[in-house]
């Protein structure tokens, strides 16, 4: 069930250039289930910024009633968020949306998790849940450059982890799709989150596969009421059918919606 709660900052660290890892504590954590769901954060009391900001859940720690998000400082909202200090509170609405189906892969099978930039965070909770289930995980994570690489070791603890950077300053130079081909990675299920061009490239290569992708769109309500975040369906490209990324997604099966 979606809840709204003022959650306490229990840790907040800069883990890369403009990349922050924020852990919040509160009862809302008990509602979190699927990896790939997101929270909608109100970062200030007033109307500056006015709207909430959607951020993916990167790690769920039910024992301590804590969860973690990883975000990039972009504009006003994430800048204000980045100024929160220990013991301050953040207004959280969540968990929202439908995440990655862990049941989409069986124990013993292989799952490939492909993340790009700030799309990497939700894959961490996903990977944890898959490993727990007995699934073999392989991670291919793409970043702009070495300064914004994060969580490499954490992912490596869970499974094979390849890093690509666009400028070659870390890991292999190039895009995640290059690595998948070069390393001849085979998998039963693909899970991905990242920039649309990356998702499009994956879709065109693996549309026949069991693949799930997580989308982004500018949001208003985050709960399905305002129609800000709709996308069209591939089998009705000019019709009236649609999905809402916030409440039907953000994760869709590859081939379902138009990227």
């Amino acid at each position: 069930m979606m809840k709204k709660e003022l959650m306490k900052v229990v840790s907040h660290e800069c883990i890369g250039e403009n990349i922050f890892e924020l852990t919040l504590e509160g009862m809302l954590v008990n509602e979190m289930k699927e990896p790939g769901q997101f929270v909608h954060l109100k970062v200030s009391e007033g109307s500056e910024p006015l709207l909430r900001r959607p951020i993916s859940i990167a790690n769920i720690n039910k024992a301590d009633e804590q969860f973690t998000v990883i975000y990039r400082r972009e504009g006003l909202g994430t800048r204000v968020l980045s100024e929160k200090i220990l013991d301050q509170y953040v207004d959280v609405l969540g968990p929202l949306g439908n995440g990655f189906p862990v049941q989409g892969v069986k124990p013993g099978e292989t799952a490939l998790l492909v993340g790009g930039g700030i799309g990497v965070p939700p894959l961490y909770e996903l990977s944890k849940q898959l490993v727990k289930k007995g699934v073999r995980v392989i991670h291919v994570l793409g970043f702009q450059s070495s300064s914004v690489v994060f969580y490499e070791e954490k992912f490596a603890e869970l499974g094979n982890t390849y890093i690509a950077t666009v400028d070659g300053s870390y890991g292999q130079k190039g895009f995640v799709t290059d690595i998948i081909k070069k390393e001849e990675i085979h998998f039963d299920t693909l899970y991905s989150c990242g920039p649309t061009p990356m998702l499009k490239a994956l879709e065109s290569s693996y549309h026949h596969k069991n693949a799930y992708i997580s989308l982004e769109e500018r949001m208003g309500c985050g709960i399905g009421a305002c129609f800000a975040c709709v996308c069209r369906l591939q089998d009705d490209p000019n019709g009236y059918s649609y999905k809402k990324i916030c409440s039907d997604g953000p994760v869709f099966k590859v081939g379902e919606v138009i990227l």
Binding site: M1, L51, C221, G222, A225
Partner: protein, 303 residues
């Protein structure tokens, strides 16, 4: 005595707070958050004769203390609203105000005629002011004669009272309001959004795919208050006020300006509990300023 009870044409409101059209869908999502029967009324999303997909995305962009939207009246069309959305809402004890939109007069008339027959629709709100659709909409909202004609035509077929939603993007809001009153409207709702735009610093292009969008939120409240102040003195039909309402204090200011009920739009996105929160805070606020009943506040700025 219910200190928040307000009676308007067609509407017996247990309190004067309702979500504004387009900011609450058809209620389903918010029903997960609170009991919709707590609301004074619900203004449902604009309904058109045929289904509409609306505009391409991005459809929203934030501005300082405001937001722009260009949803483009996405909705499932009259038939589905009649067969699915409205019957679903019958489980709640709350009057529905159906927001009616179209590209031409006949569309409005057709939708108004059918939707006004629905059991829980107690009033219509003619959306003659949506800035985000290419045809119709805003033209109806800026030319008094056209608005008056539309009002008349809809009044002829509607089985419930008709409220007309005014656009703030006009030179003379009073002239507009008077023309609509004269044409037989039972009430006014105001204001719809101001037309605005935001550009992306990197590309130089508009952030919204539709380029322009409707500005809502606290930024526009002073414009809404001014217009309601002017119009409420010039007409004798009631006004449901809206624009940037975020608190019980804002509701009071709208009543002072001349509104008889208040709708909450953008603030629902910020806080899904905002409507019941405001409703619950109103009695204490009436105490603080010494009012027995909310209607005592109405028009206080000029009375």
């Amino acid at each position: 005595m219910n200190r928040l009870h307000v009676k308007l044409p067609g509407l017996d409101l247990k309190n004067p707070i309702m979500p504004a059209s387009g900011c609450f869908g058809f209620g389903k999502e918010y029903s997960q958050v609170f009991n919709l029967s707590e609301l004074g009324a619900i203004m449902i999303k604009a309904t058109t004769l045929e289904p509409r997909f609306g505009n391409p995305t991005p459809r929203v962009a934030e501005t300082t203390s405001g937001m722009l939207n260009a949803i483009g009246l996405q909705n499932p069309g009259l038939q589905k609203v009649l067969s699915e959305e409205l019957p679903w809402l019958e489980q709640f004890i709350v009057p529905i105000i159906a927001n009616v939109a179209g590209s031409q007069v006949d569309d409005y008339v057709e939708v108004a005629k059918e939707i006004s027959k629905a059991r829980n629709v107690h009033a219509l709100e003619l959306n003659i002011s949506c800035p985000n659709v290419k045809t119709g909409g805003i033209a109806f909202g800026t030319i008094p004669e056209i608005a008056a004609d539309l009002t008349k035509r809809v009044k002829e077929v509607s089985e419930v009272p008709v409220y007309v939603k005014l656009s703030p993007n006009v030179s003379n809001i009073v002239e507009m309001a008077k023309a609509i009153e004269h044409a037989g409207a039972d009430g006014l709702t105001m204001i719809n959004t101001l037309v605005g735009m935001r550009l992306d610093l990197r590309t130089g292009k508009p952030i919204l795919a539709n380029k322009t969008g409707g500005l809502s939120g606290p930024a526009i409240k002073p414009v809404a208050i001014r217009m309601i102040y002017e119009v409420s003195q010039a007409v004798s039909i009631p006004i449901i006020g809206m624009g940037g309402v975020q608190s019980a204090e804002d509701v009071l200011e709208y009543f002072y300006a001349g509104a008889s009920a208040v709708a909450v739009g953008t603030a629902n996105f910020v806080d899904p509990y905002i409507c019941p929160t405001i409703i619950n805070k109103l009695p204490a606020l009436l105490d603080k300023y010494g009012f027995d009943h909310i209607s005592e506040c109405q028009g206080r700025s000029w009375k």
